[in-house]
């Protein structure tokens, strides 16, 4: 991890002994699947202070070790599973995992988050991150039990979906519940579906940019960690617990976060519909005759046999296991859909039967692809068949909007690359380009190859701009949270491109900071100042709001530099035709984002301090962020 080293593992020897700051295990676990070698690498307090963990740490390793010729499917690509300094501590929702790799959809960097218990288990086993390189000769899984780390044969797990994989490993090791955390790929990952995901702990998915395809290419079926028995210290436990309490209090009482506290993301469906942001039938409409009163959170939960299924140390009423009440899959246990599930496995493909959405959503997690991309692919096929751009003969089945069982068959075809599924497995952009013609004009994606979250971004321009300009294969700034804290307006006109771009650029870094801590973006939806306080108490270093934003922006800059080195630049920062189209109806009907797009890019670049022409973070920006080595790398000519 020396700043100038590139594409080779750092030496693990001759480091000066420095006391380990609180919150850290102090070691990275390194695995070379080609050779079967497993080793640990200490990292220094200086590195911890500057890169924190999670995506901060992962971005740096990726930049240092994955050169431009190491494509997503190259054995030397790194699959980094990192957690952060708050993981395993009593701050709510801190079992966090960040997966960082070079992804299969954009060919650039990926940073995608999941929760559950993996991050906490990793820390209690003595590691801050796992860095996986190489490619196993046969399907394998990684077993971690404190100091015992083994690459084991996974022949018996081949073809199993992610829930089956976890159950099989639990039985094999005689450890159930949270005593064994398992993150695995499903059939989709094994078959190198470009939007394959990594799922763990029954319902938590690191889903973006084909990280599951990378894992599949490495022939790594799963990583399983026994809870771990090592001790984790905080520098100032009293301060940490006070900060954790304050955050919890905030989440419970702040009007906006209290919604998340009670209902998770379920409110999204009705709220976003009112704003024209709920994607319906592949962006062909923004209105429905369905009574949205039936889609309020309490209704989405009502009558399900519910079981709390929280992440490490979390008090939110967010994650649930539910039992399907009726219909063909009655009795099946599923993970309650998040908003993204209701949207990707529901509204986007015209499915509005709650039981069906709930079932399909978990089936998507189990076959293990990104539910958003699945929605864009499936909805695209549905629309194309509806309009005759694709035929039943081509596709292999007749798929209509609203057909959950058909969507499931499509999912199986995709995850096993059967028939037309083989083309769809390439993701919506590549599939659309391959099919071409009128069909291609219906597909929703960015020119980079990524695709939006489960929203209709034509009514939410900040997220579209973010999705298109980001360097991680999905949104990287995300929607604003307490933006007044960093001097940004609390309320803007969402269809004023300039205001949107200023806000989107202005909050850049916050999310990277959050994603470096080892926690959840929902429990971290408090003020940055509070997170910085928790981090300071944990580590013993003093972080303030400015430090947090600076560290986040450093990570953003490193990821952008990585992508530029891979040849991904500003020329691809555009939505596809449909993605950037004018809504035909609904609340955002009169607003066309492309009318203002160039101006939005100009303002965004100016706001984040990047060069509009080359896409590079400017020299001044990099120096201000404390990245002189990156300035040298980017501007050496």
């Amino acid at each position: 991890m020396s700043p100038t080293a590139t594409a080779k593992p750092s030496s693990s020897t001759s480091r000066p002994a420095q006391p380990l700051p609180g919150g850290y295990a102090g070691k990275l676990l390194r695995v070379n699947l080609s050779t079967g070698k497993v080793w640990t690498q200490p990292w220094s307090p200086d590195e911890m202070r500057e890169y924190l963990g999670g995506v901060g740490l992962g971005a740096k390793i990726l930049y240092d070790e994955v050169g431009p010729k190491v494509h997503w499917d190259h054995p030397e690509n790194r699959l980094i599973m990192a957690t952060g300094p708050l993981a395993g501590l009593p701050v709510w929702g801190t079992g966090g995992l960040s997966v960082i790799t070079r992804g299969a959809l954009t060919g650039g960097a990926t940073s995608t988050q999941a929760n559950g218990f993996f991050g906490a288990a990793l820390k209690f086993s003595g590691y801050d991150a796992i860095v996986i390189q190489g490619q196993a000769k046969k399907l394998s899984y990684l077993y971690i039990n404190d100091d015992t780390v083994q690459v084991r044969d996974a022949a018996h797990l081949k073809g199993k979906d992610t829930w089956e994989t976890q159950q099989a490993l639990e039985a094999e090791h005689g450890l159930s519940g949270h005593r064994l955390s398992v993150y695995s790929i499903g059939p989709a990952g094994e078959n190198l579906v470009r939007f394959a995901a990594i799922q763990g702990d029954y319902g938590h998915v690191a889903s973006k940019n084909g990280c599951g395809a990378v894992m599949g290419k490495k022939r790594l079926k799963a990583v399983c960690i026994v809870r771990g028995t090592k001790a984790l210290a905080a520098h100032d436990t009293r301060g940490l617990i006070q900060a954790a309490d304050d955050i919890a209090h905030d989440l419970k009482t702040d009007p906006t976060t209290s919604t998340l506290y009670h209902w998770g993301t379920l409110f999204g469906v009705t709220n976003l519909y009112k704003l024209g942001v709920l994607p319906i039938k592949n962006y062909t409409t923004n209105v429905t005759t369905v009574d949205m009163a039936g889609w309020e959170p309490a209704k989405l939960r009502h009558g399900f046999d519910h079981r709390g299924h929280q992440c490490s140390a979390c008090g939110m009423h967010h994650c649930h296991i539910q039992v399907i009440r009726k219909g063909p899959h009655a009795g099946e246990r599923v993970d309650e859909p998040e908003y993204e599930g209701w949207s990707g496995a529901g509204w986007q493909i015209g499915v509005t039967d709650m039981e069906a959405v709930s079932w399909l959503n978990t089936r998507v997690d189990r076959a293990c692809v990104d539910v958003n991309e699945f929605g864009w692919v499936c909805g695209w096929v549905m629309e194309c068949m509806d309009k005759g751009y694709l035929t039943e003969k081509q596709v292999g089945l007749n798929l209509k909007f609203g057909d959950a069982e058909g969507a499931y068959r499509l999912l199986q075809m995709i995850s096993h690359r059967e028939g037309f599924g083989d083309i769809l497995a390439e993701g919506v952009k590549r599939a659309a380009e391959k099919v071409g013609g009128e069909a291609a004009r219906c597909a929703i994606y960015t020119r980079k190859g990524a695709s939006p979250r489960g929203h209709d971004h034509r009514g939410r321009w900040d997220e579209m701009l973010d999705t298109c300009t980001s360097s991680n294969g999905t949104m990287e700034s995300a929607n604003p949270t307490h933006q007044t804290e960093i001097g940004l307006p609390g309320r803007i006109n969402p269809f004023d491109g300039e205001q949107v771009a200023r806000l989107t650029g202005g909050i850049l870094g916050r999310r990277h900071f959050e994603d470096s801590l080892g926690g959840c973006s929902f429990t971290f939806r408090t003020r940055v100042e509070m997170l910085a306080r928790a981090l300071s108490a944990a580590t013993g270093w003093s972080y303030r709001l400015e430090d947090a934003m600076r560290l986040g922006r450093r990570t953003a800059a490193i990821l952008r530099a990585f992508n530029l080195r891979c040849g991904i630049g500003p020329e691809s920062e555009y939505p596809s035709e449909r993605y950037g189209s004018r809504p035909v109806d609904g609340p955002a009907k009169d607003h066309h984002v492309m009318d203002q797009w160039e101006r939005m890019l100009d303002v965004w670049y100016e706001t984040v301090g990047y060069d509009r022409k080359t896409g590079k973070p400017k020299k001044d920006t990099l120096h201000a962020l404390g990245l002189p080595w990156l300035a040298k790398d980017l501007w050496r000519k």
Partner: protein, 117 residues
């Protein structure tokens, strides 16, 4: 002449609801009413709502209730001082993500387990 005020999501708690569903209010619109005067007059009946909807000085809206007029977020077709014709549908939508810290000043709980050590 009336406008319909629709209160949804957690905001319903400020008007006697349970945080879900929606509540509808028909509010008379006077000839020189603007959105501001209408909302100020109406919200004064619900102290909790008033505190949540407005900033502390009551000069501007607070930051965690989205105001939508006829399906458009405030700022698109209507400003706070836009005149009303009657027949408008004004939706108060609780942000479910984002928003600013206003009402939730942190109350520091007394330290508990560290006292053991």
């Amino acid at each position: 002449m009336t406008a319909t005020i629709e209160v949804t999501t957690w905001v319903t708690r400020c008007v006697g609801g349970d945080g879900s569903g929606s509540r509808l209010f028909e509010e008379p619109v006077a000839p020189d009413d603007t959105l501001r005067t209408l909302l100020r007059r109406w919200s004064a009946r619900f102290p909790e709502l008033e505190a949540a909807l407005w900033n502390p000085a009551r000069t501007d809206l607070g930051e965690h209730i989205e105001v939508v007029v006829n399906d458009a977020v405030l700022g698109v077709t209507h400003q706070l001082d836009s005149p009303l014709q009657g027949g408008e549908r004004v939706t108060l939508l609780g942000q479910f993500m984002g928003g600013a810290m206003v009402g939730a000043l942190s109350i520091t709980c007394p330290p508990f387990w560290p006292s053991k050590i």
